[in-house]
């Protein structure tokens, strides 16, 4: 990456004096649907997107199912927050301008916003070798590198566009991994999802560049409900990255996304996330509620690998999962979750072993600082058909300070005698000996802490694409500020 995406804070535009460097707001006129959720809103979103009848029907089914849930969001997670008023949220907010046909037509203010974020939207960033789809509030703003990708037959576009240009693919796979009735937030998303990314890699194609989506919530009191669908045909490979930020606002913002991955026979999907939604200020005011459903299905010999670095959000509720459906399929989950101040994270994974000789690896690192609480919650399930299934799980937690919490809640469900399951977890604080060693070599307490914590996460960062790994390390440093000393 030629430009660093960690940029300085624009202090004047921040509502809160938080040490959140992405906290600026952009003054863009938004096209807002009225607050609240009802069938008309669902119809309005669908109409705005000029969607076909089947999709509207699917949304309405989801909405009707959601009504049956009577606002009863799941309560088992180890997070606390006041009840969310689902009728006090904007379900549709779009930058006010027609869909741009090329980068030149994109509203300069939006471009400026992404410039501030350091997102290389312009093709001048060719050297960066990353194709970007940027989603501001609910609308995908611009996609770069279209031509390069089209040559290989790779489709990378906003999902709303894919609905129009490739309806057969969307109709076949949308909801095939996460059905609309899956869980409270996924149902809500299915009813009101606005946009997101769509990726299709044709048979045997190795996607030449890394694909990236950048998400940002800008509008106050709005929810962001994006939906990502990635399909890797037989023998293909794709590496996909996502990044997220939001302005610093006093009120909480709701983010309920759904990501579906379909890895057909012999294919591989590598999905990396840098989640840096606004975490709220020092006193826990504001911040994004991040309730996300991510799941992939791996067919024969396919591999799905989730890597996530979670430093943002007031609340993170997220369990990227893999259904190991085909024989010999592989699932991986590498995660760093950091909480500081009043942040709460309940995150982990689910590995569902169905096929024979399926393997899964889970490595989760939790770092708790300030008054934050981080919970690893993961399920490893071996169905009777999964002969020879293997899982290895390792969860390590690091505590920085005496007001925080680190929790590990693994669920291990085994219905096959040939399965080998291993789970290990440990919790400790930053070792005094290591700190002393660093300090007597002349490092400050802060630098020593950072170096040790960085080392603790090294194994995960190595799974990230290079530029992302650099950024993740920076992000960690910034997020830990004020936690030590």
């Amino acid at each position: 990456m030629t430009t660093s995406r960690v940029i300085s804070r624009n202090a004047t535009s921040s509502e809160l004096d938080a040490d959140y460097k992405w906290g600026f707001t952009i003054d863009i006129e938004s096209d807002l649907a009225p607050k609240g959720l009802n069938e008309d809103i669902v119809r309005l979103i669908s109409a705005k997107k000029e969607e076909p009848e089947w999709l509207l029907e699917w949304r309405l089914n989801a909405f009707r199912h959601w009504l049956k849930l009577k606002f009863q969001a799941p309560k088992w997670a180890n997070v606390e927050y006041p009840p969310i008023d689902y009728q006090d949220i904007y379900y549709y907010a779009a930058p006010k301008s027609d869909a741009p046909k090329s980068l030149d037509e994109v509203n300069p203010e939006i471009l400026e916003a992404f410039e501030k974020l350091g997102i290389p939207l312009q093709e001048r960033e060719r050297l960066a070798g990353v194709a970007v789809d940027a989603v501001l509030d609910s609308v995908s703003v611009a996609t770069t590198y279209k031509a390069t990708l089209e040559k290989q037959g790779v489709i990378f576009c906003p999902i709303s566009e894919a609905v129009r240009t490739h309806p057969e693919l969307v109709q076949k796979y949308l909801g095939s991994v996460v059905p609309y009735s899956d869980n409270f937030y996924a149902t809500l998303n299915s009813a009101v999802f606005s946009d997101g990314s769509f990726v299709y890699i044709p048979k045997g194609v190795r996607c030449p560049i890394e694909l990236m989506t950048y998400f940002r919530i800008n509008q106050a009191d709005s929810g962001q409900f994006e939906r990502t669908l990635i399909i890797a045909e037989e023998g293909s490979y794709v590496s996909y990255l996502e990044g997220c930020t939001a302005p610093a606002r006093k009120t909480h913002q709701l983010h309920a996304a759904v990501v579906e991955l379909v890895a057909l026979d012999n294919s591989e999907i590598k999905y990396s996330t840098l989640q840096n939604w606004f975490p709220g200020d020092k006193d826990g005011k504001g911040g994004v509620y991040n309730f996300v459903t991510k799941r992939g299905i791996a067919h024969k010999n396919a591999k799905i690998s989730w890597t996530q670095v979670e430093t943002g959000s007031a609340i993170t509720w997220k369990y990227p999962s893999v259904i190991l459906d085909g024989d010999n399929s592989v699932g991986e989950f590498y995660s760093v979750a950091l909480v500081n101040n009043h942040q709460q994270a309940d995150t982990g994974t689910k590995m569902i072993h169905k096929g024979k000789n399926t393997r899964s690896t889970i490595v989760a690192k939790g770092i708790s600082a300030g008054q934050g609480n981080a919970t690893y919650r993961g399920l490893v399930k071996v169905l009777p058909s999964a002969n020879g299934a293997k899982n290895f799980t390792q969860c390590d937690s690091l505590l920085v300070g005496d007001k925080c919490g680190a929790h590990t809640v693994p669920y291990i469900e085994v219905k096959n005698p040939t399965a080998q399951m291993e789970h290990e977890a440990s919790t400790s604080k930053v070792s005094d000996d290591q700190l002393f060693y660093c300090q007597q070599r002349g490092m400050s307490v802060e630098d020593a802490h950072f170096m040790i914590i960085n080392g603790f996460c090294r194994g995960i960062f190595q799974e990230l694409p290079f530029e992302f790994a650099m950024e993740a390390s920076q992000l960690l440093k910034v997020s830990l500020e004020g936690a030590v000393g």
Binding site: P74, P410, E413, V414, Q420, H423
Partner: protein, 455 residues
């Protein structure tokens, strides 16, 4: 008095019969405890609604709630009771044995301690009647009614008899208490029986107590044992606790044990489970003062359609405490085992050291293990770890034994036996250890099927 919910009318009838009949002479404080417990139970009922209830995520108590169990009356012949109690003798200078038949102390089979030498081990009913020991402050103190499970409340509502053990402060001579709870055969034409065994153990300062609880009953009958055990381990005291769940193959067993540890005390426990259609072992240890140590071991072997649920929690409420937890399961047939355990380290409980392990051996394609060993940690200067494994015996290990001339069956048996041996060897009294070893060896299924066969 709260009205009975229609669902639990038969329990209410028995409750009224007890409080107006044999329990009528109880002191007012005990009546209040029973009444409060009944109203608590009528509020909660049994935890049959499991959606969102993490405590009962993998176990269905529907079968218990569905049957109208009648309160056992305790009028069985001596010989029948004797045959059902476990056969081993504990020896030593101070061994006291209390045998409860259908919920009542059987004086003919028991050898209580009257308190003259600092040890009082007698029936709860007698201890209440002579008022020799302040039970009011103890009963229900360690096992309060505040959970939503209903079982403690139901047990407490029927609190009439049980074991009361009190070892005086400074009584450092080793005391062995042997408690047997026996359910006898149900008479023809009567409802399946329920007993509510209650155990209270108060180990005074610097005392040394061994407690063996065993639960037995007829092999082929449906009955329900709803046990509650409260143990208080005084400052510097040492308690060795053994829990033998040996109920019949069609029986239901819900056991709730609550342990409270004071400063520098030590509590070692081993729970064994064999048999029982549906069993729950809800065990909670509160490390309530600095320097306390606890070690909880468990071994369960299930076959056929059996279901066993171990919910083992350790609460590090104070700094400088150490806990060790090691549970092992062997599963065959269509049986299911659940392990739920929580190690909690509270804020400011610095220098806590906790280890938690659950290992399972699955011998059949239809058996199922659900393990959820969780750590909840709110203090930073701690050393906590946990591990869980499920699977079969390593093919290399098996190969080693076979290369030494053992056939597959013998090698398998030897390895399963060794797997169980780790827990059995923690039992200190030799006769008990041998008894358990024989019992589990005999119960190990004759099969070597899934070893090392992965394809």
């Amino acid at each position: 008095m709260t009205l009975a919910p229609a669902k639990y009318a038969h329990y209410f009838a028995d409750f009224q019969a007890l409080s107006q009949g044999p329990g009528a002479g109880a002191p007012p404080w005990l009546k209040t405890i029973r009444d409060n417990a009944w109203s608590r139970f009528s509020e909660t009922g049994f935890p049959t609604a499991r959606r969102g209830n993490e405590r009962w995520k993998y176990s269905n108590v529907g079968p218990i709630a569905k049957i109208d169990f009648g309160l056992a009356s305790g009028a069985a012949p001596v010989n029948a009771s004797k045959a059902l109690a476990p056969e081993y003798q504990l020896d030593g200078p101070a061994v006291y044995r209390l045998v409860f038949v259908d919920g009542r102390l059987h004086s003919g089979l028991s050898s209580p301690a009257n308190g003259s030498n600092g040890v009082r081990a007698d029936s709860l009913a007698t201890t209440v009647a002579d008022g020799s020991f302040d039970l009011e402050a103890r009963i229900g103190n360690y096992a309060p009614l505040d959970d939503d499970d209903g079982f403690v409340a139901l047990n407490t509502a029927f609190l009439h008899d049980g074991a009361s053990v009190h070892v005086a402060d400074g009584h450092s001579e080793k005391v062995v208490i042997h408690l047997s709870y026996v359910t006898t055969e149900t008479a023809i034409d009567s409802a399946p029986k329920v007993t509510h065994p209650r155990t209270l153990v108060v180990a005074g300062r610097n005392s040394d107590v061994t407690v063996v609880e065993s639960y037995t009953g007829p092999q082929d009958e449906v009955y329900f044992t709803n046990a509650v055990t409260e143990i208080s381990v005084g400052e510097g005291a040492k308690v060795d606790h053994y829990r033998l769940l040996l109920d019949g193959a069609k029986a239901f067993h819900v056991g709730t044990s609550r342990v409270n540890q004071e400063k520098d005390s030590s509590f070692s426990s081993a729970s064994f489970a064999l048999g029982t259609a549906l069993a729950r072992n809800d065990f909670e240890v509160l490390l309530d003062a600095s320097g306390a140590y606890c070690s909880l071991n468990g071994l369960y072997l299930t076959t056929d359609n059996q279901h066993i649920d171990n919910l083992i929690s350790i609460d590090h409420a104070q700094p400088n405490c150490t806990s060790r937890l090691n549970y092992k399961g062997i599963l065959d047939g269509k049986s299911r085992a659940v392990f739920g355990g929580e190690v909690m380290v509270r804020r400011d409980a610095q220098k806590s050291d906790a280890q938690q392990t659950d290992k399972n051996l699955i011998l059949s394609h239809s058996a199922e293990v659900n393990s959820k060993p969780s750590l909840m940690i709110y203090a930073d200067d701690v050393k906590c770890s946990h591990g869980a494994t499920a699977g079969h015996i390593d093919a290399d290990t098996l190969f080693y034994l076979r290369s030494r001339g053992l056939d597959l069956d013998a090698a398998s048996r030897m390895l399963i036996h060794a797997f169980a041996g780790e827990i059995i060897s923690t039992v200190k009294p030799e006769p008990l250890r041998e008894y358990l070893d024989t019992l589990f060896s005999a119960a190990i299924p004759d099969k070597s099927l899934p070893f090392g066969i992965t394809r």
